[in-house]
Symmetry: C5
Subunit: 322 residues, 5 copies
């Protein structure tokens, strides 16, 4: 929005510090806090500090003349690397920007930003999943002009940062150079990664444990001799499983693969169907006066079905979490 009418200023703000070789920009990123993690839209919002350091010898000054140990500029008065986030939705909002120049021309840029970033979740192990969240900073200038290096001292995360439903793990930062697939250019990228681990306990308490109670309830048909009661139990179990299925389906984004929790619910469905079929078979044996066989299969089912259920879930766990 600033238009500099005077030519010389344009030159200063719009040309690179070094015309003959690339300028090294030292990048630091510090996570202040997560604001939101929208799993349905697969995006997260966070606040952070962005630190950029580079040397612009045209700005060097003699501290004894100006009195201060550093000079402060407004954004737009001097050249700054035109950085932007690659995986951001829209553009970042800057709460404030600070530009300080030391006598030798070293420029320190500090910005507090907020942005919403796209991130494709890997939910295969949901609700026992970890995610490696990425923020990618790039620049409009070719890597012939600008190269990034990581400022390890200014890269990190706040101890107060938290994300509802997740534990925040270690962060990591590195730089790389990527060939653009639309322009004849190589662009530098700064990648900030942070591990987050989902709280799986709420899903255990609110989904898995109730479903285990329901499955347990459905197994009472192996002790009961009343077909009417068994029907009520089996249909109630199915209705309950459906309720939890709907809750889980509404919480997760649509993904192309089967998640752990969907696998678990599928096993629950299959075992409830088994119970329904078992109930009808027992009913027919009773109708056909084969009470002996009916009592016999009851005795077997009482331990076989729970064992099969446990085995299925161990198999599921092994398949997903190993």
């Amino acid at each position: 929005q600033e238009t500099s009418e005077k030519k010389p200023t344009i030159q200063l703000t719009q040309t690179l510090p070094k015309l003959d070789r690339s300028t090294e920009v030292v990048v630091g990123m510090y996570l202040i806090d997560f604001d939101d993690f929208n799993e349905q839209e697969e995006s997260f919002t966070l606040d952070g500090y962005l630190f950029l350091n580079w040397r612009d010898e045209r700005l060097a000054f003699n501290p004894s003349q100006t009195g201060g140990k550093h000079k402060t500029y407004n954004s737009g008065q001097i050249w700054t690397p035109n950085v932007s986030f690659l995986n951001i939705e829209g553009k970042r909002e800057a709460a404030y920007k600070e530009l300080k120049v030391k006598p030798d021309g070293t420029v320190s840029y500090k910005e507090k930003f907020t942005g919403q970033f796209n991130y494709e979740l890997d939910l295969k192990e949901f609700p026992f999943d970890n995610q490696k969240i990425q923020i990618i900073l790039t620049t409009l200038d070719d890597s012939k002009n600008i190269i990034f290096t990581v400022d390890k001292t200014k890269t990190g995360k706040s101890q107060d940062a938290f994300l509802a439903g997740w534990t925040i793990g270690e962060e990591q930062a590195n730089v790389r150079t990527i060939k653009s697939d639309i322009e004849e250019a190589y662009f530098p990228e700064f990648v900030y990664e942070i591990d987050v681990f989902r709280y799986s306990k709420p899903y255990i308490w609110n989904i898995i444990l109730p479903l285990l109670f329901i499955i347990g309830l459905s197994w009472t048909v192996f002790w009961s001799r009343s077909f009417e009661s068994n029907t009520v139990i089996a249909t109630s179990s199915l209705l309950s499983a459906i309720a939890f299925n709907i809750v889980v389906a509404e919480e997760l984004p649509k993904v192309a693969y089967l998640t752990f929790i969907n696998g678990f619910i599928l096993i629950v469905y299959i075992f409830i169907c088994l119970v329904v079929i078992y109930t009808v078979v027992k009913h027919r044996l009773d109708l056909e006066k084969q009470k002996e066989r009916s009592l016999k299969i009851d005795r077997v089912a009482r331990w076989l079905v729970p064992v099969m259920f446990a085995a299925s879930n161990i198999g599921l766990l092994a398949f997903f979490l190993l």
Copy 2:
């Protein structure tokens, strides 16, 4: 928002590069990422690059004098084609804009934009549907003044682009000229199309499979001789089908036609009603001491109803997906 008070500048920024013939604008569009696909409101949000290239000889310069290989301008300092998206909601937000001029006066405009676009979904085949998403770029100037051509090298999509719930297919771009139905003018249009394929698996696991379990459950009445149990089974099946009907109805926008999933749920309803009627008929036969006929229709229904159900669904599949 910039007002240039000096007359000559106005001339430069507000008149076309060629007054006597049309200016050719080479348009490229590159999809960075989808942010959101709101099916209820039938709109999607995406981030992309917009590339415009044209020649403005008034801006040609001698590189040996100015030192650089290209000049950089701010938006508003020179003439730019006044483009806008036709099917956007509100206006696009630009994360950044870059204007570079080569010595021969070729101007390269690069913009990172975010916009929310209207798109009428064709949900007939839901949840097995594909959509051909369209973004239409047009200009305020008549095609006598501006013509569009496609810049194939700068049109594409990022390998990292993803859309929750969809697979992204091939993109396509072409240009056309449309007669305005309100003004005496022909406007150029640049159309960017991209195919997206819905992940149907979550709907199979979360809707279709549970409904198949429910239908299967309802068929146990063909083996049972207890009217009370059969009533419980039939009413539970109906309640379950209603639960899924409500879930599906809340997920989709209201459309004027029957979708595949609604057709499937309708078949499920009809077959559950059949089961209810069958149950009552069997009960009456038993009441009227016609146990023979009652057992006979049981034997027939056990294979006839599943076959009919399969046939109905094959018919439905044939009707919708062929």
Copy 3:
């Protein structure tokens, strides 16, 4: 936001073209697309073009001197009628504005706008209702200064406009003069109306048809002799009707009158209650060894209740839709 410091400019931009008589502003409005129709908040969002044409002789020029057939101005440089929408929430967002002046001083103003408009829905006939959506444009100036006329050639709607859940009908535009009830002034108004017709089919499939299945299910009690089964059927029917009632109540805004669909659900409730009472009466007759009378009322109810239900609904339809 533009402040013109020079007096003459103020005069030009802030005084009316004709000080002695009213300026005629020819208004055209063209619907590009609907973005959203929020029925709960009774508001809709749309994109459109606003065309204003008037004559300002102070801007007349000699085309042979300036070279172009028309002059282009920025908004704020010349006088423009200060129009605003009366029923808008907040203010309209303009995607772009264009101001062209012909040699005779005729000014053409074209604006692409987006706005959210309040509209009180008439839902009596829901889900078979039509709505007459209104957008009212007015001006800050008294009708002594500005009068509106309709520009029929520039008033219309795009063939591509769509609104999720509605068919778009004919549009209409007219002008009127309204006496302000707060100021001693008459203000001109331009009214753009467009008919929209609700897709009733999704409601038939997702609400009415399932409720008819439920009512049909509840009538099986007229064939059954088991009080236990009849109780299960009647209570399941009531639970299902409640589920649909809750779905409908969440979809509609709270209105002071009974809608068609509420009337229908009320009839369903009443008939399910009838079935419950009928079931208990039949149970008591059986208890009191009056099996003859019990069988007799069964035979009557089998055709009487469906006929009564059909009659009630025909009455409802007649009351609401005629």
Copy 4:
């Protein structure tokens, strides 16, 4: 955002019209329309006109010299009272502002604004509640400098104003002076109040009537002799009451007191519990071969329980609405 660099202008725009005594500002407020009433967050959004009138003799002019009957200024060019809403969330958005000065220096300020206001609902009588919505305008200046008076001719509400779910009643406006509890100052306040009356009919149809049907259904246990049926009826009634309880709880904000509807649902719960206990007692009497007593309590309960229910609700109505 406007910075006037010249000293005299600062004086004119930033000093009060009368330095020695307070300036009287005549305030008018006119409700155009409500946009939204968010009961969960206890806030409402509305559009309105704000009228301010005061006399600034420094702006008096001779109409014969300037030609017009009044002068128009941009906001920022002259002194305006720095008013703001006390109970607004964030700040108000102004769709337009108009500043007119008459020859005697009387300034008329007209603004169309939109704002979201906090309002603590009193839901004790819900859904038969009325609310007295308040908007409070105050100023940054002490009442020694500025005093408010009500402009009755410009205070009112539009006939077209509506609020989904509410009838709009009478508005009222008055002024008062409040001692600040943080600064040594007395600030003038202009209070605009408007009564709104909730549409209670949707709650009667969608919540109260279905619950009455459910209660009525539960009373069939007084006629039935089947314990199994009675159990089904009682548990279904409880499930239905729970469904409505959840719907009501999701609609209302959390309040520290019992609302009428919660009281009603509580009575429904208690009576369904009574029915359950009654059912078990009757079952035990039947088990203990005391059929005479069992039939006797049935005869009493048939009229006693409905009478008790009616009495409880009359008591509830008396307690809440009187």
Copy 5:
């Protein structure tokens, strides 16, 4: 956004009042109102006044010359401490800002702000929890340059402030100095804390009381001798408990620990499971002709289970609330 082109102005606005020692900034914060408390995202929005007072001797003036008792400046004209909130999402929105300077150079800054703040809820005792909401103000300048002190007279909260669902308690403010973990600097912090107490009554009425009714309902199986009825009662109880579990799970953010309400629901689940197991055991005793033992355990369970349930809940209360 303001660019001061003249060097001296830059000096005045961008250098600290005292170059040799730290400037004391007296901070006051006053809560006007809460706008929203989003528990799912663990953030709250509020409006408040921010008061800053400091002395800038460069601005001292002689009141007899300028006529007024204080001078008013626009933000950007003089130096102001660059404060920002540490735990804010994005940046604060200022409804207005006021800068007054007294003759001795004391500057009073008053701002009405709105901001959304992150806050990690401690929900262990939910719904009987209290929260200590924190707002932390910091500055870009090192504590060598700026130190904060609390302005107790201007720190407080409005009597009209309310927060839907919470009682507002006492506020507290203090200052501290924090070592940055990314920069070699100590930053001053001003911490405003306010206690809020949740309204637990809506949760008692809408969740805990219905669950107690359900548990009570499930205990009727100790009086009944019908296995079919007992099955219906037990499964209905489980379905009801699931409904409330889903409601609670949707209301709370995912947390890594068990909340009080989750503990309560867990106890309810366990007791309903006990009832189911009890029912089947009694059924088997009846089948095995051990009616004596069956009647005996009924007599014991009638008082033992309620006592165990009460004991469990007292234990839960003791564990969580003590």
